[in-house]
């Protein structure tokens, strides 16, 4: 079923909207939840919570990309669950590793978030992603947005894990240089 059709079901308050959402976008949602929470049972709870939130958000929301919208809700729900579970400690899941990798791009003592508007930086990151070749962009987003594991990305691309790591490393360096060139002090 197409996304527009599923959204129409949400607007009609037809509960098959949820099963269709699960059928179409459930796989990626499950991967996000499992990668962040590092636990299948927690991930299942997270998905239930997230679908309930989606049910309450649509309507009035009418997302342009339903898959990205639902994934986003799943991700926030999973992060909230992880925070509650770990009470301030890092979870040790894939999210922690992706955050650590992003340390290549920025330093821990920079004041960038106070110096610049978030919107401005996000715009620049979007410009950077736009300029990347498709496969580099896809790899970057899978890793740092979806928190996908390196072996999983390697499987999707049909390449070696080491190649993925090298490509991600290069893309992070390019991002750092790009942001610096754009005048952001990292």
């Amino acid at each position: 079923m197409e996304d527009d059709e599923i959204i129409r079901l949400f607007f009609e308050r037809d509960e098959t909207a949820l099963s269709e959402t699960e059928r179409k976008h459930g796989k990626r949602c499950r991967i996000i939840a499992e990668n962040i929470l590092n636990n299948r049972e927690d991930a299942a709870d997270c998905l239930n919570d997230a679908y309930f939130k989606v049910w309450n958000l649509i309507p009035p929301e009418r997302p342009e990309f339903l898959g990205a919208f639902v994934s986003s809700i799943v991700k926030y729900t999973a992060i909230d669950m992880l925070k509650a579970k770990c009470a301030g400690k890092r979870g040790g899941g894939e999210m922690t590793r992706t955050i650590e990798e992003l340390g290549d791009v920025v330093s821990d003592n920079s004041d960038i978030e106070r110096t610049y508007e978030n919107k401005e930086i996000i715009e620049k990151i979007n410009d950077f992603l736009e300029g990347l070749p498709f496969e580099n962009r896809k790899m970057f987003v899978l890793r740092y947005w979806y928190c996908c594991e390196i072996p999983e990305i390697a499987d999707r691309f049909g390449i070696r894990k080491n190649t993925v790591s090298v490509m991600l490393n290069r893309t992070r360096n390019r991002l750092r240089k790009y942001l610096e060139k754009e005048g952001f002090e990292l």
């Binding site: 898959g67 986003s72 070749p133 498709f134 962009r137 947005w145």
Partner: protein, 223 residues
């Protein structure tokens, strides 16, 4: 900025990229590997060059050894030393043909065909010059094309520029987002290009001289 903050910022990127990353299919792992590790193309060229050098060098030593053997076995004269030079130049042309055969194994093109993606178009090549045999292999969904150039009069002095332009739905060519590749002879040329988003837009491959004339369209495809 801490990496957590960057993570949060990345979290807010354009949802278009998020959707694309999950939904956009990879054509084939092998194709991607070529792109990701495109150095092997250079490595193959480098290896071929090294192999050719070794062969030339080896052939040269072999010839010199032969000549020396001849000189040792026969009575030496000025004429024979000239003939030794002759054999040297012959071995050099031999190595050139070896080099060519290594090169042509990379060029899988058949004459008079332009292959774009899965489609092979018969194309009447312009006999006045430019490229007379070439294959364009477009890697689906990867914004990446490989041109196998077989016969061309392009050279370092008179290169041909290959460019991929976008054609809007109105039929206008958007020249601002083309990446150009300089063709200077036989070989494999690869390039990435940017495609316009939206239904109906197409790409065209143009070949033109450095002065931008004449533009020659070899084929079109949907991005």
């Amino acid at each position: 900025m801490k990496s957590e903050e960057l993570f949060k910022l990345i979290d807010q990127i354009d949802r278009r990229f998020v959707e694309e990353a999950w939904e956009g299919d990879i054509d084939s792992g092998k194709a991607v590997e070529i792109i990701l590790e495109r150095r092997p193309i250079h490595a193959i060229k480098f290896a071929a060059a090294v192999a050719a050098c070794i062969l030339v060098f080896g052939a040269g030593i072999f010839t010199i050894a032969n000549v020396r053997t001849n000189i040792m076995s026969q009575s030496g004269s000025a004429g024979e030393s000239i003939s030794a030079d002759g054999s040297m130049s012959e071995s050099s042309s031999e190595s050139s043909s070896i080099n060519e055969s290594v090169h042509s194994s990379n060029v899988s093109g058949s004459n008079e065909n332009v292959k774009i993606g899965k489609e092979t178009l018969n194309y009447e090549f312009d006999r006045r010059g430019t490229i007379t045999s070439c294959i364009v292999e477009k890697k689906d969904n990867l914004n990446y094309a490989v041109i196998y150039v077989d016969e061309t009069d392009a050279s370092e002095e008179s290169p041909i520029l290959a460019k991929i332009y976008n054609v809007t739905t109105d039929g206008d060519i958007d020249k601002s987002i083309s990446e150009k590749v300089c063709i200077t002879g036989r070989g494999i040329y690869e390039f990435h290009y940017t495609t316009l988003r939206g239904a109906g837009s197409r790409c065209v491959l143009c070949l033109e001289r450095e002065d931008e004339s004449p533009a020659r369209i070899l084929g079109t495809w949907e991005p």
